[in-house]
């Protein structure tokens, strides 16, 4: 048995997990694209999903690194976003000891640690834009706001570039709602 982590230094691993149809694969793509194209780092995005077009478990993984990325999947997550109870239960054990857990409190009631960030992501999406569908973009705002793993400009550019025609403003509003939620959480922690 190999002792210690097999993670290379300088790797940051993010796992976005929930159900099919929540837009998590796209969220992973946008986050990785922000890092790779707009921040000029290396990033790899992979996914696993069930055979269903909607529903079923869905997972998107993003590895961001200053150096080359060989193994493209999460070894030990630095950050886990759980958009469903099942995803939270299934992947929490693979979160690094000091890793960040963000849950959508609308969908996840049982949280395994008191250190989790509970954010009503789906509700924030609805409040900010009238559409639950953009919960994935809200979650990006929360992740970037909390970690700064990519720059604000980069995530804004990536969201704008991937937004379907005519929905750029709406998506940026959703992103902003995520940023605000992250600011409030940080204020609670420090305050």
């Amino acid at each position: 048995m190999v002792k210690g982590t097999t993670k290379a230094p300088g790797r940051y691993e993010i796992r976005l997990a929930g159900e099919g149809g929540q837009g998590l694969i796209l969220a992973g793509v946008i986050l990785a694209e922000a890092a790779a194209i707009y921040d000029g780092k290396n990033a790899a995005q992979t996914q696993s999903y069930g055979p269903e077009a909607r529903g079923g478990a869905s997972k998107s993984e993003v590895v961001i690194s200053e150096g080359e990325i060989d193994y493209p999947k999460v070894i030990e997550a630095d950050l886990l976003l759980a958009m469903s109870q099942e995803a939270c239960d299934k992947y929490y054990h693979n979160l690094k000891r000091d890793g960040i857990l963000i849950v959508d409190s609308v969908n996840v009631s049982r949280v395994p640690t008191s250190k989790a960030y509970r954010v009503p992501i789906t509700r924030l999406a609805e409040e900010a834009t009238g559409r639950r569908l953009v919960a994935n973009v809200v979650s990006l705002g929360v992740i970037v706001g909390l970690t700064g793993i990519v720059s604000r400009q980069a995530i804004e550019a990536a969201v704008s570039a991937r937004a379907p025609r005519g929905t750029k403003e709406l998506n940026l509003r959703a992103l902003e709602a995520g940023f605000r939620a992250a600011e409030e959480l940080k204020a609670q922690v420090t305050g």
Binding site: T6, A8, A36, T46, S48
Partner: protein
């Protein structure tokens, strides 16, 4: 060109277009469908043709038909569809019609795990069709390599008049990475050899110095015959041994005499390595990760990545086996290319790392094999 964040399947489609592919026939199947979707959108504007056929058998048949008509042609599929294509792969090999078959491997057998990766079709890609036949199989491990090897697949196919299989896997197909694609004019593109003789002198299967006879498309005044039966130099069926034997000799020679062109592999730190990890496809990423970790822990480990898996690069592996104490072969199957490594290196030198449950092999698994 500027950097783009791109999926492996997209890179495959883009590589095909740059290589000159103007015909695609396919049947929807996860995890390859994006290739068909992209080409259905892109081909018409280039004057190319896309058609969704009624099954994978028909798809490869249409691809071969289009190639006979002079278009560079491709299909893309996954395990179950690849199984259905086997008979027509043999037809393409027998008739020496260039075509590219992309197989994005998923976990099998049967319907298996449609959305999960595997490398279970290594042997099928070599021996799936009945009868002895030459074949070239390439396997990319990154998005950029997928672009590059798709172009190479077309080039080999045209240059050697042979079906070429691009053996991808679900990880490489669906993974997104940053790529900086070269401008199309900077990419070397090979077209099939044309003849300079008049129609009455043209023999589509004649012996030539390169062992690859020129291939004239239908409709250009040459009016020859193509058949899946053994045939003479004109393409007419034959049962004569003095015509069958030279054909067999030539079609194997055209591959075996050009190994220095066809065999592609990359080595890192293999000189003086006690343990070499030999891998291909997405598993090569886990392998390289593991080798770097091992070296950081002062293990004398080296890394070798095969881009061409068939024909199998025997001499390279023999050389590695000569200097290294152990060759670790990780694969997302229960031991397929390892059989070839064992044949060349001897069983005692090879350590297999396998899984066929739909998950990638982790760097940790390979590290354990290096250290253990």
């Amino acid at each position: 060109m500027t950097a783009q964040f791109m999926q492996g399947n997209t890179a495959c489609a883009e590589g095909a277009l740059v290589a000159g592919c103007r015909f695609f026939a396919g049947y929807p199947i996860t995890p390859s469908s994006e290739i068909a979707e992209i080409l259905s959108y892109r081909l018409p504007a280039l004057g190319g043709k896309f058609i969704q056929m009624e099954d994978e058998i028909a798809s490869l048949a249409a691809v071969i038909g289009a190639s006979v008509g002079g278009m560079k042609a491709m299909t893309a599929t996954s395990g179950p569809g690849f199984s259905l294509m086997q008979e027509n792969i043999g037809y393409a090999a027998m008739t020496e019609i260039p075509c590219v078959i992309v197989n994005v491997q998923r976990t099998g057998p049967s319907t298996g795990l449609p959305t999960s990766p595997a490398q279970g079709d290594v042997m099928q890609s070599r021996w799936g069709t009945h009868g002895d036949h030459p074949i070239i199989v390439l396997s990319p491990s990154s998005v950029m390599e997928t672009f590059r090897l798709t172009v190479t697949a077309f080039n080999f196919s045209e240059k050697y008049r042979t079906p070429v299989i691009l053996l991808m896997d679900e990880v490489v197909a669906h993974m997104r990475e940053k790529v900086d694609l070269p401008a199309p004019e900077q990419v070397e593109v090979v077209d099939r050899i044309q003849t300079n003789v008049p129609p009455e002198w043209y023999f589509p299967y004649e012996e030539t110095a390169s062992d690859v006879p020129p291939l004239v498309s239908f409709g250009q005044g040459f009016r020859y015959h193509i058949t899946g039966l053994f045939h003479d130099v004109r393409g007419f069926p034959t049962e004569r041994l003095d015509e069958i034997q030279p054909w067999l000799k030539r079609v194997f020679a055209k591959i075996n005499n050009n190994l220095s062109d066809i065999l592609m592999y990359e080595e890192e730190d293999t000189r003086g390595a006690r343990t070499v990890v030999l891998a291909y496809g997405s598993t090569a990423r886990s392998a390289r990760h593991a080798v770097r970790l091992a070296r950081a822990r002062r293990h004398k480990a080296g890394f070798c990545k095969l881009l061409t898996i068939w024909p199998f690069p025997e001499e390279a592996v023999e050389r590695l086996a000569h200097t290294a104490k152990r060759i670790v072969v990780p694969e997302m199957n229960l031991g397929q290319l390892a059989l070839e490594v064992e044949r060349v290196a001897g069983r005692h030198k090879v350590r297999r790392v396998n899984r066929a449950d739909g998950e990638m092999i982790t760097p940790q698994q390979i590290l354990e094999a290096i250290e253990g």
